[in-house]
């Protein structure tokens, strides 16, 4: 029932134009995150890993709104975005399990997913780091005379770091084609936004840069896409940057085994009632795109596919030890295989 069972990022990305594929991808993201949680418990994931179950509509809404040759920067909470942008479950799970099959060959891990083919720069483990980098990508696009844009995805807690402020100002003054997407999932680590941020809507901070600031419903993929479309169009026609705040929620804790006991009782349940997958499934059912019982079938199919991907990963080898020194500089053994963003 999945439309694209390709592992080729660009094919997966193009497939997102299809409504059903959008749902499929959201289900896939959820399934991958759940599998990763299990892989973590099984000892296959080292360090830390940051799940984004509950935030799937943001990922898919962004990915379907931009072109594969637009550039995206993102944080460690990037599994869903990577999958939505086109990275295959095998490449994502593979990276998180440190296998050669991973999108960074196992060198990066959960916090560092990457796929130049669909514009995804290595996701950054430092809060705020992606915002200035997106500004630079936008500068490059403009310098090349292309109408490509850059998107930077970050969390609510990241809106308090200096790089946020500097980047928004920088992009505004240079009218750069950037869309800043703040995923407001109400928490930065274990801290509720109210305890770190004295305003309710991050979006109002756009006013400090004379930039549009938009609040969007991050649980509804169509609302996400709608907000994105305006901002993307504005950026493409040279109108400058936009700040979009997606109101969303992460179902799990911040990372690894965080049980998220700091959340008030009932909060998670309330959000589960607005589950992004259910919202889209219901809409597609209404539009007769999804058959009755179709969602369950989809979930089962995807779950199988993710399980197959997981097995493929677990069967695949760890990177060769030579990799340690193969990609440090141009002098390294790996040599230059530089991606050309402007070949098309």
């Amino acid at each position: 029932m999945t439309l694209s069972n390709s592992n080729v990022p660009i094919v997966r990305r193009e497939a997102l134009k299809n409504r059903l594929e959008q749902l499929t991808r959201m289900v896939e993201i959820r399934a991958v995150e759940e599998r990763i949680q299990k892989l973590f418990a099984e000892g296959h994931v080292r360090g830390s890993t940051h799940l984004a179950s509950g935030q799937e509509a943001v990922s898919v809404g962004i990915a379907r709104s931009i072109d594969p040759d637009d550039i995206v920067t993102c944080t460690y909470r990037g599994h869903g975005h990577a999958l939505a942008l086109g990275v295959s479950p095998t490449a994502v799970i593979g990276e998180i399990c440190g296998r050669v099959i991973g999108c960074a060959g196992g060198l990066g891990g959960s916090m560092h997913l990457v796929e130049p083919e669909v514009g995804l720069l290595p996701t950054a483990a430092i809060v705020g780091a992606g915002l200035p980098i997106a500004c630079g990508a936008a500068m490059a696009a403009r310098a090349r005379g292309k109408d490509r844009i850059a998107v930077s995805i970050f969390g609510d807690g990241s809106a308090n770091i200096g790089a946020f402020h500097e980047s928004l100002n920088f992009a505004a003054i240079r009218k750069l084609p950037v869309v800043f997407v703040c995923e407001n999932n109400l928490y930065g680590e274990y801290t509720r936004i109210q305890l770190s941020t004295p305003v309710e809507d991050i979006a109002i901070r756009a006013a400090s840069y004379n930039m549009p600031g938009v609040v969007a419903d991050g649980q509804d993929v169509d609302k996400v896409a709608e907000a994105m479309a305006t901002a993307v169009a504005r950026a493409r026609r040279g109108g400058g940057p936009t700040l979009i705040e997606m109101k969303t929620y992460r179902y799990s804790g911040h990372s690894r085994s965080d049980p998220a006991t700091y959340r008030p009782a009932g909060e998670l349940d309330a959000w589960l009632k607005r589950d992004p997958i259910d919202i889209l499934a219901e809409r597609l059912a209404g539009e007769k795109i999804l058959a009755p019982g179709g969602l369950d079938q989809l979930k089962a199919d995807i779950s199988d596919a993710v399980e197959r991907a997981t097995m493929e990963v677990l069967d695949s080898p760890a990177p060769d030890l030579g990799e340690i020194l193969s990609h440090v500089g141009a002098h390294s053994a790996g040599g230059d295989q530089r991606w050309n963003f402007w070949s098309k």
Binding site: G47, M111, E189, L325
Partner: protein, 335 residues
């Protein structure tokens, strides 16, 4: 003796320091209500209250700088940088502001603050969360740098750092937090900053190390045919020249074991100083065991190879002692 988690030593040091000195405050991300990302500040909020145990927004520049201002004005802030890499967005406040405060006021203003941070590799946190980065601080006039290596040194160094009248960086190898050790707390125990310790006496080789590498060095010494003296530097700046020099004069051989690539490791300064001071008195060339010049890999197999193991250290030392020539590192052999 009780078995404790090493992270409890951090907690006890902070707790005792706060009890003994009401001007001590701690701040950082999620260190109060949540008890710390590494659970090393658990319970402090309940004991010492929200004006002294402070959760901050994700704003390293703000809270690092606030620590500077608070220190100048009479508090003793202990700042947690969750991962030492995060100070990459706030280095100015520590090395340029805090470290020059005394100088620019001719001794009238001082910044008795501590930056504690988890540091180092070994757990698969990837290349942006696994470095020691002591080279960002070492040799900055006005700043001290210490590295903990077990429960006792954690307690002893932290207490001294908090009592120090000048700014101190304390790096805590993250890999140690979750290890258990026999240790009985003694709230009067201190390790004076600037003082190394001989972790294991020996007669053939002086192996200078610190942090998580102390255990690697000790394990290597256990299996080695050479009788290895292990010196734990404890303070990387200013480091204890006398202890190292005296040991080297005794053993005639100097090897460093560093959790950093050679280009930024502290061994450059240590080896050069000893090579100068003990010129003509060494039986063999000094040798540095370091990390390769590469980011820290994520994948478990790679990270295990990346970090020096006891067997590798023992082997390197055996080659040095038997050939009197510095052995090649594994990555040059392999290539």
């Amino acid at each position: 003796m009780a078995k404790i988690w090493i992270r409890q030593a951090v907690l006890r040091a902070l707790d005792d320091a706060m009890t003994d000195d009401p001007s001590v405050i701690v701040m950082g991300e999620d260190i109060a209500a949540a008890g710390g990302p590494f659970k090393v500040t658990e319970g402090l909020l309940a004991t010492h209250g929200p004006e002294r145990v402070i959760d901050t927004p994700i704003s390293e520049m703000a809270f690092m700088g606030a620590a500077v201002g608070a220190a100048v004005c009479g508090l003793k802030p202990v700042v947690e940088m969750m991962f030492i890499e995060f100070i990459g967005v706030a280095l100015d406040q520590l090395t340029t502001q805090a470290a020059t405060m005394r100088y620019l006021s001719r001794g009238r203003l001082t910044t008795p603050l501590v930056v504690r941070a988890s540091a180092g590799a070994g757990q698969g946190f990837g290349c942006q969360h696994s470095q020691m980065l002591d080279h960002w601080f070492r040799g900055t006039p006005g700043l001290k740098v210490a590295v903990t290596s077990n429960a006792r040194t954690t307690y002893g160094l932290l207490r001294s750092a908090i009592e120090d009248p000048d700014p101190v960086v304390v790096l805590e190898p993250r890999v140690l937090y979750a290890e258990r050790e026999e240790y009985e707390f003694d709230r009067n125990y201190r390790i004076p900053l600037g003082q190394a310790e001989i972790a294991r006496p020996g007669s053939d080789v002086t192996l200078v190390t610190c942090g998580a590498m102390r255990r690697v060095a000790l394990a290597a010494a256990e299996t080695s045919h050479a009788n290895i003296e292990v010196v734990d530097l404890l303070t990387l700046w200013p480091w204890d020249r006398r202890t190292v020099a005296e040991s080297v004069v005794r053993t005639g051989r100097l090897v460093t074991l560093e959790e950093a690539p050679a280009g930024s490791g502290w061994g450059g300064d240590v080896v050069s100083s000893i090579a100068i001071e003990a010129f003509g008195r060494l039986k063999a060339p000094p040798h540095r065991i370091t990390l390769p010049e590469a980011p820290v890999p994520y994948s478990g197999a790679l990270e295990a190879r990346f970090l020096p193991s006891p067997a590798y250290v023992a082997e390197q030392i055996a080659t040095l002692v038997s050939t009197n020539k510095p052995p090649l590192p594994w990555w040059r052999n392999a290539a």
